[in-house]
């Protein structure tokens, strides 16, 4: 039974967290968490008071470079200090993600298991290999299903005159390869040094100041202040001290932080949907696809001119006869030439954009012609697009479904569009396929 003293203390701590923005970090053992999950034990929610929580995993290090934790430390700290999110908790997972004899779960799937249980907003993990004289570092991000539904899902409701059903889209891919970074092996010492710097707590915001201790494993700590490139931390046990924000992570080490910044951008977008993620040179095809997809889907909320100028051209950069191939002229990222990241997601986006454009344009015409006092809601509900045009769009989308046959958004939208177009058998087939996929999961 809790004593009144403990209750008061918990209340005070809760009030402290409610009153101030929280930026905290905590280190967690992967295997320990997985064991608890396998035993069916309830997992304690780490840093529960933070509005957004990110899981950063130790980079896999099969060649024994010793950099796995250092890279995770740098990425975790960068997200914590650069995301600009008011209330953020970073969970630093330590352990291996590669498959082993005990479990076939690995990489994205293993991360998924842990982050679904912890209900975090985003996970970042990676792999480091020693290839010849170079360090090759892959960094990945993944968005849990719940978060995808909450922050990365879009709907277009058709007017009542067209049946009133919703067309839908989700961000794809939601398992994102952020970066493949190849840097000279000599950068190793710089990374280790930079990671040590960000974990060492100094008396003052000065590289020459005395080290008072290090950020602890398995314990929460907070950012309680900032001064220039320095942040002041406080641990649960009461230790305080200063650590650099960018610190010694310069030159090649700095490039790694572009991947961390992209992850931070995704969080910023979750907090305030007005700021879509920005892609930086040296990131992967996936990041370019994700960035342009979010921009295009966000523009669907605008007027028909925005849809025509932003959503449609962005979708058509990835599909159809006008698909952009090879190196992107602005970002220098390779766009590839075949099926884009996300499979049929861009074809689905194009369908939504064309439907939204037709509806918005028709709405604009009706509004301009309507007398004063007309209710815009009713004007929208009375709109309809000719069935032949919708049927043609549906067939285009059906073609795209052949490269991504189990894409639920695409099949759902096909059911809606075919139904409206009078192709009832095809609508029925699309619905059956959706149901079959749900049943198989």
């Amino acid at each position: 039974m809790k004593t009144p003293g403990i209750t008061m203390l918990l209340l005070a701590v809760a009030l402290l967290f409610c009153a101030a923005p929280v930026n905290a970090e905590m280190r967690i053992d992967i295997e320990k968490e997985l064991r608890l999950l396998e035993q069916g034990e309830p997992l304690p929610k780490h840093i529960p008071f933070a509005q957004y929580r990110v899981a950063v995993f130790t980079y896999e290090d099969p060649d024994g470079t010793g950099l796995g934790n250092d890279l995770a430390a740098l990425v975790g700290k960068h997200i914590l200090l650069h995301s600009g999110v008011v209330s953020l908790g970073v969970l630093r997972y330590e352990g291996q993600l590669s498959p082993n004899k005990l479990s076939r779960l690995s990489y994205f799937d293993k991360v998924e298991r842990l982050i679904e249980a912890q209900e975090v907003s985003l996970a970042v993990w990676g792999m480091i290999r020693m290839i010849g004289e170079n360090l090759v570092i892959d960094t990945y991000a993944q968005i849990p299903r719940k978060i995808s539904e909450q922050y990365f899902a879009w709907q277009l409701r058709l007017p009542e005159a067209m049946g009133g059903a919703n067309l839908q889209a989700h961000l794809r891919p939601d398992r994102i390869h952020l970066q493949k970074l190849s840097i000279p092996g000599r950068s190793q010492d710089g990374i280790v040094d930079a990671a040590k710097q960000v974990d060492a707590l100094r008396e003052n915001p000065d590289a020459a100041a005395e080290v008072k201790g290090h950020l602890p494993l398995g314990e929460v700590y907070w950012v309680i202040g900032r001064r220039g490139d320095w942040a002041e931390f406080k641990t649960l046990s009461g230790l305080t001290g200063w650590a650099p924000i960018s610190g010694n992570c310069i030159l090649e080490c700095r490039l790694l932080l572009n991947a961390a910044q992209f992850a931070a951008n995704l969080l910023i977008y979750m907090q305030d949907r007005r700021e879509t993620p920005k892609v930086m040179a040296g990131l992967s095809t996936d990041t370019l696809a994700v960035t342009e997809q979010i921009q295009a889907l966000e523009a669907l909320n605008g007027n028909f001119r925005q849809i025509r100028k932003i959503s449609l051209p962005l979708a058509e950069r990835w599909i159809g006869p006008r698909r952009w191939k090879g190196q992107d002229p602005t970002t220098k990222i390779d766009r590839g030439s075949g099926v884009p990241p996300g499979g049929a997601a861009f074809a689905n986006l194009r369908t939504l954009a064309l439907m939204a454009y037709e509806l918005q344009a028709a709405f604009q015409r009706r509004i301009e012609g309507a007398g004063a006092g007309s209710d815009p809601r009713w004007i929208y509900e009375e709109l309809s697009i000719p069935t032949a045009a919708v049927e043609s769009l549906a067939f285009d989308l059906a073609e795209a479904s052949l490269v991504d046959p189990e894409n639920i958004d695409v099949l759902h939208n096909l059911a809606v569009l075919f139904e409206y177009a009078g192709q009832t058998n095809k609508a029925k087939l699309a619905r059956y396929l959706v149901q079959r996929i749900h049943n198989s999961k």
């Binding site: 990489y107 010849g132 390869h177 996936d286």
Partner: protein
Amino acid sequence: MKTTASLYNRDNQMVRLMCMICFLFLLILPVRAFTDTIVVGQIVDQTTRSGVGGADIKITRGGSTLGEAVTRQNGQFTVSFDIGSSMDVKNVTLLIEHEDFEKQSLFLTITAGRPDKTVYEVVLLPKALSGCQMQGEHGGVVGYFGSEELAYNITFALTYSLLTRIQALNLAADFQPMFVACNEARPRSPLHWGNFAKALGADVFLSGNVEEKTDEKRYDVNIYVSDRFGLFIPPLHTLNRSVNLKEADAAKLAPETHAAILLAVASGFEQEGAYAKCVEMTVAAEQLLQGPTSEIQKSRQRCQAQLANIGLVNRGSQ
């Protein structure tokens, strides 16, 4: 006009003919009843397709041995046995044992003393490979490379590069390919690579060798990839020049090789009718190469044609 004598002569001839037929029938009947059933066959090594000599062959029924033989040098054998005089259909078991191979058995149907096949071919799996067989999963076996560490490194690199690509497509864990290292799987000839894939139930089979360079710490690594569908004849070859066996360099495979491996896995899905998974594998292969190839497109088109989604595409039909 018929005379009595001529009639007598004709009846006599008929009786003699009947007696002769009866005699011949009696002559044949015991011979048929007591002739041995003969089973002929050949025992073959599953990995090399060459005959296995010295294998013990037994025909058993209901716990008792009916006949025995030992295979000749070329793996051929003949067993004769007496299964009784009945004209019924009977089942017997053909048992094969050899100290270097896994035991094998086969059910034979004998109808009126005749086996259901003229020649039986039975394949045996070398005992050394029994722990390396895939258990119905898709994926591959990484065989002998001269260095166990290298085989392990190749397995790790393959698993990582392909699984991350495939998992990014949200493919359920049950459908994800797996790769296992099996140092005992050592083909002696490039012709045998595909046999190893078939024998181990693997979509793909990788094996190779290392050649020491003048500098003692550097090696050239030859990697050969084959499959159980006959896609890679001769096996695909990757050469990693002048590498340290302990480093990731030695185990690296070109994106083209990764894509080829995924194509073989796609063929495995195609063969079992999992056409959506087949399409997804071809998409993963294409994304690895940052663009399509004619092989990828052909494989995808075959699987797409079998998808239920194809019913959504045809503009002419309702």
